[in-house]
């Protein structure tokens, strides 16, 4: 950790024998980082996470990546470039092929499936890549851990204890997410230092459900601090990351099947928020060019919204979206919410 200069220094100078593995703070990071950290450290690696996205990282990512891909992949390229510059020995890029076992085929987004390939073949000066394959449809998910651990040279016994420790850490993290806080806040609290719950989970004139992928919820640069603006306008903000798979499944069973697991989660979250009545409005956030979301948004609009008639704000993000624009829309949305509760 630490800033750029520190990391580069330690790469050249006081280098210890442990393998330095970088983890880019993008895509699946916001979902599984506590597990990876514990697992990699258990296997005898030094884990270096890239810092929260800043303008420099975003710019580097935009330059290294093709133009019409979603902003989250550009951020991944930026973080990988930062790690390469920081002199890590390898970068962990997980390949999430499918994350649930169902009678039909399940996938995540194609960009998550091909993330290691894109970095390996598409990034100039790409670092050494550690793949971590999650393909629940075909292989149990400890298989990916086992092959990653073997590649790092750990003994099966060590892999087992690392895995157990990882699962515990992940459990703690997910317990924090259950309260409705955003992934980045939960990660900060997991590291220690901060204890009190974030302000946006406290009191508010209205409650707003914020539905988006973890990597949009957890990246304040990409989402232009929308949580802060919603809260400043007087809303209590609850993230869609709070729902468990069981809750999602319950909602999704009532809808036609979807093969994209993460998008099913979004659809299920919107349905859950709308049905439970715990929020007064839903903000659906997506990144421009997100393939699955272009379809899911239409399903939300046409299948879910007419059923419950809850106010819905759709926000499309890309690397050009500006804070002022997001703030205006957040304020306007929160301002018009009480009108509904009067009726």
């Amino acid at each position: 950790m630490g800033d750029r200069a520190d990391s580069v220094d330690s790469a050249e100078g006081k280098r210890d024998s442990r393998l330095r593995v970088g983890v880019p703070r993008a895509l699946a990071f916001y979902r599984h980082y506590p597990f990876w950290r514990a697992f990699l450290e258990g296997c005898g690696c030094e884990v270096i996470a890239s810092p929260p996205t800043d303008m420099g990282i975003m710019r580097a990512g935009t330059e290294a990546c093709v133009d019409d891909i979603c902003v989250a992949v550009k951020a991944l390229f930026g973080h990988a470039a930062w790690l390469a510059e920081a002199g890590v020995d390898a970068v962990l890029v997980p390949r999430m092929v499918s994350v649930e076992k169902k009678p039909y085929d399940t996938f995540t987004c194609p960009k998550l499936i091909a993330a290691p390939d894109m970095i390996r073949h598409g990034m100039p000066g790409s670092p050494e890549i550690l793949e971590f394959v999650v393909d629940a449809k075909r292989r149990p998910w400890w298989w990916g851990c086992l092959s990653l651990g073997r590649r790092l040279g750990a003994s099966p016994c060590r892999i087992w204890s690392a895995w157990k420790h990882g699962v515990d850490e992940q459990g703690r993290y997910e317990g924090m997410l259950r309260t409705g806080m955003m992934p980045d806040d939960a990660l900060r609290r997991l590291e220690g230092g901060v204890e009190e719950p974030p302000a946006y989970l406290g009191q508010g004139r209205v409650a707003v459900g914020l539905v988006a992928h973890h990597y949009l919820l957890g990246d304040p640069l990409v989402n232009n601090r929308i949580v802060r603006w919603l809260h400043a306008a007087g809303a209590r903000v609850v993230g869609s990351s709070k729902f468990t798979w069981c809750e999602i499944e319950e909602e999704a069973d009532a809808l036609p099947p979807l093969s994209w697991s993460y998008e099913k989660e979004l659809l299920g979250s919107v349905a859950r928020f709308m049905r439970s009545g715990e929020v007064d409005g839903v903000v659906y956030m997506t990144s421009f060019g997100c393939g699955p979301d272009s379809m899911i948004m239409e399903m939300v609009r046409r299948e879910l919204r007419p059923r419950w008639k809850l106010p819905l704000l759709e926000i499309v993000l890309d690397e050009h979206s500006a804070e002022a624009g997001i703030r205006t829309r957040a304020e306007a949305f929160v301002d018009r919410l009480p009108a509904r509760s009067v009726n």
Binding site: I69, F107, P110, S259, M295
Partner: protein
């Protein structure tokens, strides 16, 4: 039952006969054009890919022509094409249209059979076998005419002659209703196209391989007539890696050779993309990998904006092309793409390919691409 399906290049010819021979009345919307796209745009989600918008326009046109059943392929893939039918039909119902939807692959076979039973009725296996054989023969005939046409365009003496001939032949093929007539027409087409007068000097013809997303490669309305213009206007022999025939017959298991080809392509792609992404990414990558070896001067990669599998290929292709030493032009199509912009890019790319070929043959500095003396130092 009046059944309609969206357009994709010349796929309507075999599909129309398939629907007809099964006993339903086919409704074929007008060939897509700018107006179709604009109609689809009005109702489609903002950043859905371009094929979604065009096929939505097609469905609207078909419903206006009186269709009461819309057919679409559907499936549980990682690519969003699998959800076209579901979302499009939802949008159309919201617009107030009433129709039945048949989603092949998206519904249980029993449900599809229940919908089709009143039309097909008993004796279905016999009917289906007959319908499929005509379907296959027509698809093969269309494939042959299209392939021959791509060879003839750069070579013909009178520009546009083979195109006119082919459109006449395809119209007759569309009208043919029995297997015998289709076979006869195929032979006739072969003879007629062989008689088109060609230029003597054909060594200078460049060969370009076209890779990319299926719909953009096959639908002239969407790719701004790329294949025809490259052939007739730029005098280039184009070879797309995908065709209507391949797409229609591979998924129906009607031609085992296509399965073998797909497996080979997947094997070639594996070092770059070990997992399936749900689109035609294996054809794109393998087509680029083999382009040089198979004698192509360059590769054009065409895809619609925000297409997921092709976007990933777009990230990989520059490296592959550098490794294999083959020039690449990526063309991204969306509703704002202007024909002039595409032409400018094509002209520049083709100039590059020409000079590359000349320098390979050791002719740089002579002939058409010699730099005129006046242009070297205009300030003297």
């Amino acid at each position: 039952m009046k059944m309609a399906f969206p357009h994709m290049g010349n796929a309507y010819i075999p599909l129309r006969s398939l629907v007809e021979n099964l006993g339903a009345e086919p409704v074929v919307p007008d060939r897509p054009h700018r107006g179709t796209l604009e109609r689809g745009l009005l109702h489609a989600p903002e950043f859905a890919c371009l094929p979604f918008k065009v096929t939505l326009g097609d469905c609207l046109n078909a419903l206006d022509k009186g269709a009461d059943t819309l057919a679409m392929v559907s499936g549980m893939w990682a690519c969003r094409f699998g959800y076209y039918g579901r979302v499009q039909h939802m949008i159309l119902r919201d617009l107030g249209y009433e129709f039945q939807s048949v989603l092949f692959g998206g519904e249980r076979p029993a449900d599809i059979w229940n919908k089709l039973k009143p039309v097909v009725g008993w004796g279905a296996p016999r009917k289906a076998a007959g319908a499929l054989s005509v379907f296959r023969a027509k698809a093969a005939a269309v494939e042959e005419v299209e392939a021959r046409l791509r060879e003839l365009r750069p070579r013909e003496v009178r520009k546009g002659e083979s195109d006119r001939l082919a459109s006449r032949l395809l119209r007759r093929l569309d009208e043919a209703d029995t297997l015998r007539k289709v076979r006869m027409l195929r032979g006739e087409a072969r003879e007629a196209l062989a008689e088109v007068r060609c230029r003597e000097e054909t060594d200078d013809i460049l060969r370009i391989r076209l890779v990319g997303e299926l719909y953009v490669l096959l639908e002239p309305a969407l790719n701004l007539d790329l294949v025809r213009r490259l052939g007739s206007d730029f005098r280039i022999e184009v070879q797309p890696v995908l065709s209507t025939y391949k797409w229609l017959l591979c998924s129906l298991w009607l031609d085992p050779r296509l399965k073998v080809e797909a497996v080979k392509a997947r094997r070639l792609t594996r070092p770059y993309l070990p997992y399936v992404l749900g689109g035609e990414e294996h054809m794109t990558v393998s087509g680029t990998l083999t382009a040089r070896r198979e004698g192509f001067d360059g590769v054009i990669h065409a895809y619609p904006l925000t297409c997921m599998p092709e976007n990933i290929c777009r990230t990989l292709l520059p490296k592959i092309c550098r490794e294999r030493d083959v020039p690449l032009l990526s063309l991204c199509f969306d509703e704002h793409t202007s024909p002039v912009g595409v032409t400018t890019r094509l002209e520049a790319f083709i100039d590059l390919l020409r000079s590359r070929r000349l320098s390979r043959e050791g002719k740089r500095g002579s002939g058409a691409y010699a730099v005129p003396a006046a242009a070297t130092a205009p300030w003297d």
